[in-house]
């Protein structure tokens, strides 16, 4: 189920909420937890129930492994007798990676093997189970935490609740066991908190609006652009890449806002995941603002175990690069994600080298370079292959065609001597002058305005907040569905 759906907003959320707090009111706290697990699994299985056994199996396996590790810590005398915890941990992690590898990367692996070795293995066309990247990472973190002795309790119901809790199940944030479990057990979180509920409604409305109104508006131009990359003129190519840059941010951060908002309604505070990433002044800064919980995971569970910055300068650079390569591949089974990861890895390495030299840069220039770097690398993230990405970039550097809007023709006609033409300057992406205005507003929006997290902190139940929330919520719900349009033959 998606947050931005009727069934979630009008049925699932109110019912889950009502029964959860009713059970708590009756002091049936175990039952309320069980209810939440049941609701979360229902949420997970809404579209396709076939992966329910998979997630349950994964939870049972990881819980057993985690408990086995923790038990060794709680009864120190057995350490010498049993299997060393490090071995158990290794088995646990490898099993998780194999599971993810099978479901997410099998076809990618087969394709590459076929190309390299000239074999003719058939692709398996495995459907990616929902949220598998997220619940696998969450549970690897749990195993490592258990190994580090940071897991204090072992209760199957609690553990299942931690993994399946529906707000974070499909798209994060990626959680730590220790930041979640105390919240579920705190007594004061078991009664409806009107302040949290209000703030939740407020944040949910913003998130919904960001996703279904703003992101989907940008999506139409980005999609059209990436469908006709070879034809894009200068402005179209820029509009395409910028539209995608904004689409991705508003989509993902909007979805995360909704996740945080829904959790907040249940008095659970999830860690923030976005903090105005496009305001970043360097690439390291960007990764501290974009998908923060993923960066945190990569740092704690890959970068630091690899040795972090404690094993010499060269290894540090190599570690940084590796982390981004893996981070890239985590986003999807394609070389384009690897390329994207590699680009960010190189940028991080260069940034570190620059920092080591102790040099400073003008703030505007720093922002400008960072933003453009991100904008260009998103093209590789979105493109389905190298040619497509290359086409967009060629368009952006004016290698295709430069077309100015028709209304400028009588003033700037002399430019046609320099190979500049006049016409439908955004026609290939079904855009017009409004597209340009909205892109500029989008840029202004992400740079000037406070982000949803800052706004939620300032939240007060005033008339002002009430009106804006209502407007965002109503317009968001009205925009949940679109009738698919037939764009050609417009007369």
């Amino acid at each position: 189920m998606l947050f931005n759906s009727y069934e979630f907003i009008f049925f699932f959320l109110p019912i889950t909420f009502g029964i959860y707090f009713w059970l708590n009111k009756k002091r049936l706290t175990q039952a309320s937890k069980a209810w939440m697990v049941f609701a979360s699994l229902f949420f997970y299985s809404w579209w396709n129930i076939i992966y329910l056994p998979l997630i349950l199996g994964s939870i049972l396996f990881n819980f057993s492994v985690g408990s086995a590790i923790s038990r060794i810590y709680s009864t120190p005398t057995t350490i010498k007798k049993g299997i060393p915890p490090k071995t158990i941990l290794a088995v646990g992690i490898i099993s998780n990676i194999l599971l993810l590898g099978y479901f997410k990367y099998m076809d990618f692996f087969i394709t590459n093997a076929n190309t390299l070795a000239g074999t003719h293995w058939d692709l398996m066309h495995i459907v990616l189970p929902l949220g598998i990247s997220f619940f696998t990472f969450t549970q690897i973190a749990y195993l490592v935490d258990a190994y580090r002795g940071e897991v204090k309790e072992m209760d199957y119901l609690n553990y299942t609740l931690f993994v399946t809790f529906f707000p974070h199940l499909l798209a994060g944030p990626i959680l730590h066991h220790k930041e979640m479990m105390p919240q579920f057990d705190a007594l004061r979180n078991k009664v409806i908190n009107h302040k949290n509920l209000s703030a939740g409604v407020f944040l949910f409305s913003i998130g919904l609006f960001k996703k279904v109104v703003i992101a989907d508006t940008f999506a139409q131009w980005a999609n059209a652009g990436f469908e006709t990359t070879q034809a894009l003129n200068f402005f179209e190519a820029w509009a395409t890449s910028l539209s995608y840059t904004f689409q991705l941010y508003f989509d993902f951060s909007g979805y995360t806002d909704m996740a945080l908002a829904v959790a907040l309604m249940f008095n659970i505070k999830l860690p923030i995941n976005f903090n105005s990433p496009y305001k970043a002044l360097n690439i390291q800064d960007f990764w501290r603002r974009w998908h923060i919980t993923l960066s945190r995971f990569l740092r704690d569970y890959i970068y630091i175990p690899l040795g972090g910055n404690r094993t010499g300068e060269f290894r540090t650079y190599a570690n940084l690069f590796t982390v981004f390569l893996i981070g890239g591949l985590w986003h999807g089974a394609s070389w384009m994600f690897v390329i994207w990861g590699a680009m960010h890895g190189i940028a991080i390495v260069l940034h570190r080298a620059w920092q080591q030299m102790g040099k400073k840069m003008n703030t505007f220039l720093a922002w400008f370079i960072t933003f453009n770097f991100i904008n260009i690398t998103w093209i590789f993230f979105r493109a389905k292959d190298w040619t497509q990405a290359n086409n967009v970039i060629s368009g952006m550097i004016g290698k295709h065609e430069i077309t100015l809007p028709n209304f400028l023709a009588h003033k700037l006609l002399f430019l046609s001597n320099f190979g500049i033409s006049f016409g439908g300057f955004l026609s290939n992406i079904n855009g017009d002058i409004l597209t340009l205005v909205i892109i500029i507003l989008g840029l202004g929006g992400v740079l000037v305005f406070k982000n949803s997290m800052q706004l939620t902190k300032q939240f007060k139940p005033t008339l002002y907040f009430q009106l804006w929330t209502s407007l965002a919520l109503v317009y968001g719900i009205l925009s949940l569905t679109k009738i698919s349009e037939f764009l050609y033959f417009n007369f």
Binding site: Y6, H194, K195, L197, S198, V201, S205, E227, T228, A231, G423, G424, P461, F465, Q466, T469, S470, L473, V474, Y475, I477, L478, S479, L480, T481, K482, I483, S484, E485, F486, L487, Y488, F489, N490, F491
Partner: protein
């Protein structure tokens, strides 16, 4: 105070939905409810324009027709379900014409329509472009419109409680007010060509525009003759369409539609698909004959399809779309209407069978030679325009300026 905050929001939202829903119900931009219609306010259902697949998927069930005419926009704009050519026993008729429909879509739309058990007759207008195997399904098709699971969503939420519907309602009022004599989208699925081409001034430009889009896939994203192919799957879809009708004891009639000879003749020749066009006719003739279904061919270089391109025309709006008059001729012929059959030129509409197909194809070639001879300069110009389009040149907006 906090409690009041969210309660107020919920109440406000609820009131908004009721108001917006009522407004959309009255204006009815998709013509699904038809409870209130007033010239100058909502007679021109603007919402239908780009959402024909969605609207027709609902209309076809609510109209409960006895006869369906399934085809591309050529039928949508040119075949009147109220036509006097159609015998009373066939009525009510629903015009199930859908722009740029593909054979696989024909199958899906047919299956969907058969959820209503009233359907007894199906007439299918076949087009060469409909069978292009390079694109089997239109990417605009949203399969959710056929899914019963989404009935609530399709029937009530989309047309009532959505920003799209609100916007379309406003457009409906605007256009209805500005053009009081415009009424394009009918409840029976018909969209008269005169209304589609409202205020058309220059037939020739519209012809050229249509020719251009059929030849250059870059202009349209949908594949026409520039990028054409046939494979087994499109024919098996065709067989399935017939099998579905047979299984449901439906009286099925097939015909190949008559686009202007400049398009479904010269356009196909220039794109080097003419042999494939003939092969396609042979194959569908064989299949229909095997399954004992009548198939008519109205295409070619006959007296109707070779009408001179000028302003105004009697038979055509543009190279692809014929007028209602031609729609009537087709109906009179395929339904064998005794009172009107004498008005149909003998060469217009030939019944195809494995016995007649070769001589028919040969006749078309002879007709073509005659047509080329008597329209030498015009065809030469046309060919050079086609070659430009095939070479990926952009159409100059000035070329089509002043069409309407």
């Amino acid at each position: 105070m906090y409690k009041k905050f969210y309660l107020n929001i919920f109440i406000l939202a609820l009131i908004s939905f009721v108001l917006i829903g009522s407004f959309n119900f009255i204006i009815d931009p998709y013509g699904l409810f038809r409870n209130f219609e007033k010239v100058g306010i909502n007679q021109q259902k603007e919402g239908v324009r780009n959402k024909i697949r969605y609207v027709k998927s609902i209309q076809v069930l609510t109209q409960n027709p006895k006869t369906l005419i399934i085809a591309s926009s050529r039928v949508h704009d040119g075949v009147n379900p109220e036509s006097a050519m159609i015998p009373k026993t066939y009525k009510p008729v629903y015009n199930y014409g859908i722009p740029m429909i593909r054979i696989k879509e024909v199958k899906l739309f047919l299956l969907h329509a058969l959820k209503s058990h009233n359907v007894k007759n199906v007439i299918i207008g076949l087009d060469f472009f409909m069978f292009n195997s390079k694109e089997k399904l239109n990417h605009e098709l949203d399969p959710k419109i056929f899914d019963n699971k989404f009935q609530m969503l399709n029937l009530y939420i989309k047309p009532l409680i959505s920003a799209t519907a609100l916007n379309d309602s406003i457009q409906t009022i605007k256009i209805s007010h500005a053009y009081k004599d415009r009424k394009e989208f009918f409840a029976n699925g018909y969209r008269p060509g005169s209304q589609v081409n409202f205020g058309l001034k220059n037939y020739e430009k519209l012809h050229n525009y249509m020719n251009w889009t059929f030849l250059s896939s870059r202009q349209t994203e949908t594949l026409y003759y520039e990028n054409y192919g046939l494979d087994e799957e499109v024919f098996s879809d065709f067989k399935e369409v017939i099998a579905i009708c047979k299984k449901n004891h439906i009286n099925l009639i097939l015909y190949i539609s008559p686009a202007h000879a400049n398009l479904d003749g010269e356009g196909i020749v220039v794109s080097k698909n003419f042999a494939l066009f003939e092969e396609w006719k042979r194959k569908i003739t064989k299949i229909s004959d095997d399954m004992k279904i009548p198939l008519w061919d109205f295409s070619g270089y006959n007296s109707i399809t070779t009408e001179a391109v000028k302003t105004p025309m009697k038979n055509y709006w543009d190279s692809s779309h014929f007028t209602e008059k031609i729609g009537d001729l087709i109906l009179a012929k395929i339904l064998n209407n005794k009172d009107y059959i004498s008005t149909v030129p003998i060469s217009f509409g030939v019944k195809l069978t494995p016995e007649t197909i070769e001589s028919h194809l040969h006749q078309i070639k002879l007709d073509r030679q005659l047509y080329l001879k008597s329209n030498f300069h015009e065809i030469n110009d046309l060919h050079s325009m086609y070659i430009k389009a095939l070479n990926g040149a952009k159409q100059d907006p000035k070329e089509i300026e002043g069409m309407f």
